[in-house]
Every structure is written in structure tokens, then in C-alpha cells.
């Protein structure tokens, strides 16, 4: 039998996690992408590589190291102790940190490419029209890079929903706190309750389908109305 309250809390948690993670990814990823696109620093490709690197670790292994980092003996524990906690693991905040690290390359790379495709021209023109670099960044670079942001957001959102190894490892599968939908489905698969897994996976696909399609279509409409 499907445990509806449990599933509902997992759905809510999943959406919260994916949304918060996507927002954090965009907030952190945008300046990184901008720097990677514009900097003339020699070591910037090194940074670009480091950003992509978490990808090559299996999620549970990455999760394991994150667990060590977030735990009482790692920097995460130090931060947690400021707020009276022992560890950032097993908390929603910890999940966000893990998901952000793991999905970062999917967000940074497309935005970086979009920034690069703009070239110097529009930014120079904005400067001659009296826009400060920050102003021009918001009023010219970001709107022109919209396809990159969209791709980054969709990939980051989808990957956070499906992402599982990291979340399981640093979240601890605690119902209502860190037990997200992917983990719930995993549990059903593990315990051979396949029908339940089918239902949940189907629902998740349908939901993600609607969300992503809606985002793509809305952006297309925006793309048409603001020329």
C-alpha cells in the first residue's frame, strides 16, 4: 500500500530541494560562469575543470566525502556548531550543499557558453550608453544569455530531482526531513514493491515533464514577446 502522507512529504521535500538548489545554483553559478567566460587569467581552465570534477565521482562516493566534510570533524560541523548543531549532514541545508556541488557543472557550463557567445560588442555598446559594468551585466549580458540560463536551470532542476546517491548519503533518508522522492522510489524498488515504484516513478516523470515543458514554453513566449 502506498503511504500517502509519507509520499506527500517526500514530494514536498523534493520540490523544495530542487527549487532551492536551482536558485542557489543560479546565484552561485552565474558569477562563476561570467568569470570563466570573461577572465583572461591563465588558470581559468583549471577552475573550469575543478567545477566539472565532482561529476566524475560516483554519487555515493562523493556523498561519502561530503559526509566527512559536513560532519562534526569537517568544516560543515564547525559551521553547524555556530548555530548550535553538530553537523550539517542530515539536514536540509546539507542536502542543498551536496546537490549544489554535484549539479554545478550543468549550470555553470551552459551559462558560460552563453556569456561567451555574446562577445564584447553588446557590453561595449552598453558602456557607451552609460551603463556601468554591473548595470550592463544585468541589462544586457543576462537577458542575452537567457538560453544558457534556461538550460542550466532545467538541467540543474532535473538532476537535483533525480539525484540520489549524494542525497541518500548525506541526508540519511530521514522521513519528512531528508527523505526525498527519489529515495522513496529507491526504497520501493529495493523492497521489491515494484508497483509502488512504477506509480511513483510515473508520477514523477509526468510531473517533471509538465514542469520542464512549461518552463520551455513560457521562455519561448517571453522570447517572442520581448524581441
Amino acid at each position: 500500500m502506498l503511504d500517502f502522507t509519507g509520499i506527500w512529504s517526500a514530494v514536498r521535500l523534493t520540490l523544495e530541494l530542487a527549487t532551492v538548489t536551482t536558485i542557489v545554483l543560479l546565484v552561485i553559478g552565474t558569477p562563476v560562469a561570467w568569470w570563466l567566460a570573461r577572465s583572461k587569467a591563465r588558470f581559468k581552465e583549471v577552475v573550469a575543470t575543478v567545477v566539472a570534477l565532482p561529476l566524475v565521482l560516483p554519487p555515493t562516493v562523493l556523498g561519502f566525502y561530503l559526509l566527512l566534510a559536513l560532519g562534526p570533524e569537517g568544516p560543515g560541523g564547525a559551521i553547524a556548531s555556530l548555530f548550535g548543531g553538530r553537523s550539517l549532514a542530515f539536514t536540509f541545508e546539507g542536502l542543498v550543499i551536496g546537490s549544489v556541488i554535484y549539479s554545478m557543472p550543468f549550470v555553470v557550463q551552459p551559462i558560460r557558453n552563453a556569456f561567451q557567445a555574446i562577445g564584447d560588442g553588446p557590453m561595449e555598446i552598453a558602456a557607451t550608453l552609460r551603463a556601468s559594468p554591473l548595470d550592463a551585466f544585468w541589462s544586457v549580458a543576462v537577458p542575452l544569455a537567457r538560453p544558457g540560463f534556461l538550460t542550466g536551470a532545467v538541467l540543474g532542476f532535473a538532476h537535483t530531482i533525480g539525484e540520489f546517491g549524494v542525497v541518500l548519503m548525506i541526508g540519511g533518508n530521514i522521513p519528512g526531513e531528508t527523505r526525498v522522492l527519489s529515495v522513496a522510489i529507491y526504497d520501493y524498488v529495493e523492497t521489491l514493491q515494484w508497483t509502488h515504484a512504477h506509480v511513483l516513478a510515473g508520477g514523477m516523470l509526468a510531473f517533471a515533464f509538465i514542469v520542464i515543458l512549461a518552463v520551455l514554453l513560457i521562455e519561448k513566449r517571453i522570447g517572442r514577446s520581448t524581441p
Binding site: P122, I125, A126, T128, R130, A131, P133, L144, T226, P227
Partner: protein, 358 residues
Amino acid sequence: MSETAIALSLRATAGAFTLDVAFDAPMRGITALFGPSGCGKTTLLRCVAGLQRASGFVTVGGESWQDDDAAVFVPPHRRAVGYVLQETGLFPHLDVRRNLEYGYRRIAPGDRRVSFDEAVALLGVDGLLERSPTRLSGGQRQRVAIARALLTSPRLLLMDEPLASLDAASKRDILPYLERLHDELSMPVFYVSHAGDEVARLADHLVLIEDGGVHAAGPFSELSTRLDIARGHGAEVDTVIATRVARHDETWHLTELTFSGGTFNVARNGLPAGHPVRLRVLARDVSVTLDKQPGTSILNVFPATVDELVDEEPGQVLVRLDLNGSALLARITKKSAHSLSLKPGMRVFAQVKAVALV
């Protein structure tokens, strides 16, 4: 280097090309930058706008925009320039109206000296405001770009061949407006163009650039009668004469303009008596006769003295005439010069077939 001057000295390198220029220009009027393709005109404008780093200094009306000695480098967005690029860079994500407003809204209302509606009407872009720039023709894009630059009420307007893809009618509308800019708003303009007539009409000051360096710089009237430059710089040889409105002839729709050498009859204009008017006379429009001739359709005939004769392309002679203190260039065939036995000091008549008000 007064408060009323633009002074610059810039040195920049791009690949094998080196720009190395230094000149002064007045803070009023239009300074034409003239020179062959690839000589560095665009590079110069970019350095003035601060988009490209050069070493040296740029001072505009007492304001220092760059001064390496004092470690001053004002970033581009703090320089009150308007820049119309060679390839119109309209923002594709904004419609025409928002493109125009982009710079306009970034200027404090008190500093705005160009009104939105005026610029829009003048450049004929009123019907295009809701359009995406991707749906404009080449000339329409260029007009929008000009309006956008003007709307930042710049202290210095940089224009890189802004009228190149405009038809004659559009030019006829825009040119007088550019002239008014410097009359009314005292907005100096650096103007790059290959069109000799545009330059002659507009320019108060001329900077001839060759291969990254300044070949000559100075007031237009001086430079344009220096025969060596006139011959070299490839455009039509002409003379610009400063006159004043004397009276209007309502019957024949003519206006009489006086200058030291006499009176020009030109198409009637509405200027008040005494108003200064500049005339451009192409050397090829001036013919020389020994006597004042009756029964001709040519109205503008002046007594003159031959100053100097310079051989031109085979078969042609450039004659500098002195019209009681005003210089005038005439281009005639060698055969005519010979048959009239023209010599310096000789008294002749200059017939001017056509003039352009500039």
C-alpha cells in the same frame, strides 16, 4: 589646452598596426576624420571612448578622460560620449523603444539636452518603436543607432560612418539636425566618413589620418585650400567660403550672400540678415573667363586675381584665385589655361556654376 578644446595624444598597437596620433580639436563643431580604409579611424574612436586601451591622454573640454601621467583612466560608462558604430549594434533583446530608452534612462533628467520625441521624429523611427531590431532594414537600424546615441546627450559624439547606408532623402533630413546639434547644444562631433560631400558640408575641423598617424589637422577652411592636401586626400577638391546673408530676393527665390569678393546668389533660405552661411564650391564647378560675359545663365561671377597654378592629373590644372582676400580653387583643363594664357597675377573672372550651403 583650454576648457573649450579637445586634446588627445594616443598610441595603441593591434597586431602589426600601430596608431599614433596627437591633435587638438575645437569643443564646438564637427571634426571630420578622413583617411583610407584601415588607416585607424575606428581604432581612434574606440580609444577616445575608452573601449580600447591606448597610452597617452584625452581631454575633453577641460575634463580629463585619460592621462597616463596622472594615472587617470575614466571607464567608458563614465565618459559622456555617444558612439554610433560602423556596424550598428542594436540590442537584439530589446525592441526599438527600449533600445532608445536604454541610454536615455541612464541620464539624469536634468542632464538631458535632447528630447526623446524630437530625436525619434527627426530620425524617422516613430513608426518602428515597437519593432524588434532584427526586423529592420539596414538604414532603419542605422537611424535607430544614431537616435540612441544622441539620447545620451553626450559631451562628445563619435560617429563612424553613420550615414553610409542612408538614402539621399534621409541624409537631407539628418545632416541639418547634426549641424544644429553643434549650434544649439554645442555638442562636438568626431565624424568618420568617406563621403566628401558630407564632410565638406559638415566639417569645421579636419583630421587627415594615414597609416595610423595624423597627416594633417586643422580648421577645414585652411586645410581644404592647401593644394598639396587637396590633391592628396582623394576627395573632390573644393573651397569653403564664409559669407553672411545680405538680403532675400522674393521674386526669384534667391538669397544674396556677401563675402569679401562680392555677392553670391543662392536658393532662398529663411535665415535672418547678417546670419553666417558657409558655402562649399567644388573646384570643378568654377570656370575662368577673361572678360565678364553677358547672356549667361551663370549668376555668380566675380573679379579675381590668379594666385597660383598647379598641374594635376595629366591635362588638368588647379588654379588658386584670390577674390579680394577670399581664396577659391578652380579646376580647368591645361588646354584652357594655355589658350587663356593664365599666369599668377593676371586679372580674370571666376564663374561659379553651383554652390552648396554647408
